[in-house]
Symmetry: C2
Subunit: 205 residues, 2 copies
């Protein structure tokens, strides 16, 4: 953390504070104070609060993309990759319990603020969505890949919201296990009654 540009330090700190306290509730002074920098210096790097938000979103996009790329580079089975995504919830359960999902809560807040950057924040969700869709296609679920991707995404959002509200880590593990079972069945009997409104199909590839 010490070999960072001041600008990078600002963005990293803003990233954390936006996550922990929300975008609106985090002020210039908060960020400046957290890294012992004057507000004047601050303004030299970012003219408006929205500029910081943009930078934070771009940082998150880059980090997320890198993570997804790594998962693909490891040469694992698509099912294992989706499992990796689901396991994020368990890995970050402590933060999720305290602050919820970084992506979901940001999107919710920006939606309420009617903030223009909501579309940018959405790109984060879309990144996951597209990536998950690709994995489901590789699993032979071309026809309903996007639906399944959205289902997994919705699952993670719902679990994060409740774990945060109820301050319950065990619930995360519980739901994750159910989801992993669902994923297994998803692959086993692809033309079964699972994922109900999905069109019939027998694993093409």
């Amino acid at each position: 953390m010490s070999n960072l540009t001041t600008r990078e330090l600002i963005v990293e700190t803003a990233d954390q504070l936006f996550y922990q306290q929300g975008f609106e509730h985090t002020s210039f002074s908060h960020i400046a104070g957290a890294i012992s920098i004057s507000r004047g210096n601050f303004y030299h790097h970012f003219k408006t609060k929205d500029e910081i938000l943009d930078a934070v979103i771009r940082l998150r996009l880059a980090k997320t993309q890198k993570m997804l790329d790594q998962w693909e580079a490891e040469g694992k089975h698509p099912r294992e990759r989706i499992q990796s995504f689901i396991q994020i919830l368990v890995m970050n359960k402590k933060d999720i319990k305290r602050y919820g999902c970084p992506v979901g809560t940001l999107c919710s807040e920006l939606a309420k603020l009617n903030h223009g950057s909501l579309v940018d924040a959405n790109a984060l969700l879309t990144l996951f969505r597209t990536w998950l869709r690709k994995q489901f296609v590789l699993l032979g679920r071309e026809a309903d890949a996007d639906q399944l991707a959205m289902h997994v995404l919705a699952f993670s959002q719902g679990v994060a919201t409740l774990a945060n509200a109820f301050k319950d880590e065990k619930f995360i593990k519980n739901e994750v296990n159910q989801m992993l079972d669902w994923l297994k069945r998803c692959e086993e009997n692809m033309s079964s009654s699972e994922s109900a409104s999905a069109p019939e199909l027998t694993g093409e590839r």
Copy 2:
């Protein structure tokens, strides 16, 4: 709306604005302006912003309780009652698309603000949770009733979050249909592989 006390008018308006704009982003002036009342008058009814929040939460609790009571009084099958809950998403899809879930987004915001009223807002979620649990017990799923209740709750939260972020109403209908199918299966083969980590059991009642 016209036969309401000023106090009730304030709470109703605050309820809407908190939902649409968020708690923090909604000021005294917003609420006062929305009903053409002076801030001074306002202060006569509520001394602090937190008092309004409490009143809003109490209002929501009352409304929710009333709705749940009605569903139970209609003498329907427990499955139909759970269906009613799931259908809320479709009924309110327009608002959910614009503002997300009223309960979930409030809890998320209060969690970020580290606000003491989070526990009160949680009572709303707990109301649904307890009610759903009861319905699942009536369905003969005593052993994992709470788990199923939380699952339904998480589902609705996830769908609301994504519908809000992606501004997508169709997604709501889609997921709701899947959920209704899941519920059907939930009842049909209670000891099957569905709801995976649930302990084995054969419909006691």
